[in-house]
Symmetry: C2
Subunit: 235 residues, 2 copies
């Protein structure tokens, strides 16, 4: 490894900021859909659910500071963040495991709009081969290596049952895939240099539960306070 | 609103910390599955993908400081965080829209393990009524109000196509649901006091793309550095 490649690493953005960039992108997409062309850091922070000081700090890593008194240009900031993440380029993706979740992922418009192009749907069940989902033919899992080579696939999505996930990951890594998005409820072991991210569909539900619990607590306190004043409240 | 209920609000944890608590919970579950009983803040921070100073600060809101020289007890910290989020209690949930995604969500084990209990699956298509998914009968959407009242449902999940999402949200809110998890690719308008969170399945893919892009850049620099030294590198 050369000193120049270490220097390249040093420019890297903090991991927590990286994780928030797609959230800003989602918030900016919402603003665009709402016909908003410029926004203050406070507005964008509110839309993204972070505080505005953190937002400004995060965007400063990208060299984006907005214009005093005007704020950020929504379209330009969208482009800057998308370029930084790398979603302005084309990412060929394979999805393995075409059950209900695989079907839903193949049909998910949010992948295509972010530069992720599903080049193949693979399933271990040979009976599924030839079936078409979202306009793409399901192919046997054994064609993985050929497909990865043909399309220079770097990212694989695992939507299999938990029991199959590790062997699918092993085959993906052996074929040259270096990033795996794992929807299966299992922990994957992969060699150094391979990134794995696990999707937990319950995370957003948990955030809602936190707020529900707070709302219930506030209502309970309000009800206790109000009770002595309510008509017929003496019992 | 009484001063006591405002006092209750003041204890609220910062939103960014709330959003990280489920991530810590997921990391702790991974440690438990790996047979790890105690962990340092550095280990837990690494597993959760945040820096350890932020982790310690976040956990300090819960009154969790670990034990010097020992670290955190994984099981106890899991309980503390789960209690704070509110997932130690039972959350009845309805899922509306039983297409591929709705099927996948109904079967998703991560909901049940976090206290979310799917009490009903609803679909607008009357032909689907009676079909069974994950052991639960699909019911007509028109039964929403009755089900919400019978089970005291506070959280609704929308897995319909985009075009139907707003009218489903309106009916949910009218029936008393105050938190909505929206998988449909559409922005929902809801009254104040109702929380909506939108799931973007591409967020984790974007984080992978960022790292793929970095890996490719580092490899390109390394290749450039190495070229003059490679045999036959003179052209």
């Amino acid at each position: 490894m050369s000193s120049r490649s270490s220097g390249e690493n040093a420019r890297e953005i903090p991991e927590a900021t990286v994780a928030r960039l797609p959230v800003y992108l989602r918030a900016l997409t919402g603003l665009t859909e709402g016909g908003i062309a410029t926004c203050s850091s406070e507005e964008l922070a509110a839309a993204a659910g972070v505080n505005s000081a953190k937002l400004r700090k995060d965007l400063s890593y990208l060299g984006s500071y907005g214009t005093r008194g005007v704020g950020y240009d929504v379209e330009y900031l969208t482009y800057q963040i998308a370029r930084e993440i790398g979603v302005t380029q084309d990412w060929p993706v394979v999805i393995v495991g075409i059950g209900n979740l695989g079907h839903a992922l193949a049909n998910y418009s949010g992948f295509r709009s972010r530069g992720f192009r599903v080049v193949a749907l693979l399933d271990a069940d040979p009976a599924r081969a030839g079936e078409e989902v979202a306009g793409i033919a399901v192919r046997p899992f054994d064609e993985l290596e050929q497909i990865v080579a043909d399309h220079a696939v770097a990212i694989g999505v695992i939507a299999t049952p938990a029991a199959a996930a590790q062997s699918v990951a092993d085959r993906m890594v052996a074929s040259g895939i270096s990033s795996i998005l794992n929807f299966a409820p299992s922990v994957l072991a992969v060699p150094a240099g391979v990134d794995v991210r696990k999707v937990d569909l319950s995370i957003e539900l948990q955030i809602l539960a936190y707020h529900e619990q707070r709302k219930a607590a506030v209502e309970a306190v309000a009800a206790t306070d109000a009770a002595p004043l309510a008509p017929g409240g003496v019992s």
